[in-house]
Amino acid sequence: MLKSRIFVNQSTDVEHEVRSLESLARKHSLDDATTDALIAEARGLLADFCQTAIDAANGHFSAEISKTIKGPKYEVAFVLRQEPLPKRGGIMSLFRR
């Protein structure tokens, strides 16, 4: 059973994530049809999340969206977290929430 969680923000490279997911699917011996279905859904979702993250960064608002796609042999969660602007770094960022 493939279980994974992918975090998305405005700098996420959609194709890179798709390739990683594809190799993960191969590692878990998912058949071609299942892999294709997973990749197609993941690519659409990643592109959509990435666009929302860019909108959030440009519009100066924070966005948090999570969605899990489930299939016969996989369960992949997509988590979008986008802060509006870079805030203070260092130790304070550990306690931001």
């Binding site: 929302t52 909108d55 959030a56 519009g59 100066h60 608002f61 924070s62 966005a63 948090e64 969206i65 999570s66 969605k67 899990t68 802060e83 509006p84 805030k87 130790i91 304070m92 550990l94 306690f95 931001r96 929430r97």
Partner: protein
């Protein structure tokens, strides 16, 4: 300078029977008589009046820009919230805080419990997060206790 030249929009209307009349609630009824003033004084007054108008116009334009930016951010957030929250098993939350020429605005929307509570995270609400200081204080206290035990 003609007295009528300053009456664009009816803000200043010289009338022989009145010296100065100013009603902030009905600017169109305002009137001023310039005939008793010298040409230079009239020019100065007109200049001040025009400068005031320009300042008001500039402020209005700035507010318009702020409102437009806010409106587009709200449109993106609400459209996305509507679109995403209609899908099953999806959690969505948007937060926005801004301080602009028309004041401070805080927005939170989504289908999460926090969105329902209407309370922004500390970061978004620009509240000071004291948690790190509690941790540091706790560690210092612990070190003091350890050093006390070590000495006994």
């Amino acid at each position: 300078m003609s007295n009528d030249s300053a009456s664009g929009g009816g803000a200043i209307k010289p009338q022989p029977s009145q010296a100065v009349r100013f009603d902030p609630l009905t600017p169109s009824a305002n009137a001023a008589v310039f005939s008793s003033l010298s040409k230079e004084q009239q020019d100065v007054l007109l200049m001040e009046y025009m400068r005031g108008n320009l300042d008001v116009g500039k402020k209005a334009a700035q507010m318009h820009v702020d409102v437009d930016a806010f409106r587009s951010a709200l449109e993106v957030m609400s459209a996305k919230t509507r679109e995403v929250s209609s899908q099953e098993g999806v959690s969505v939350q948007f937060q926005h805080t801004q301080e602009s020429s028309f004041g401070k605005t805080e927005v939170i929307m989504g289908n999460t419990a926090q969105a329902a509570s209407g309370k922004l995270t500390r970061t978004m609400a620009n509240e000071r997060n004291l948690t790190p200081f509690y941790y540091i204080g706790g560690i210092i206290g612990l070190l003091i206790l350890v050093s006390l035990f070590m000495h006994h």
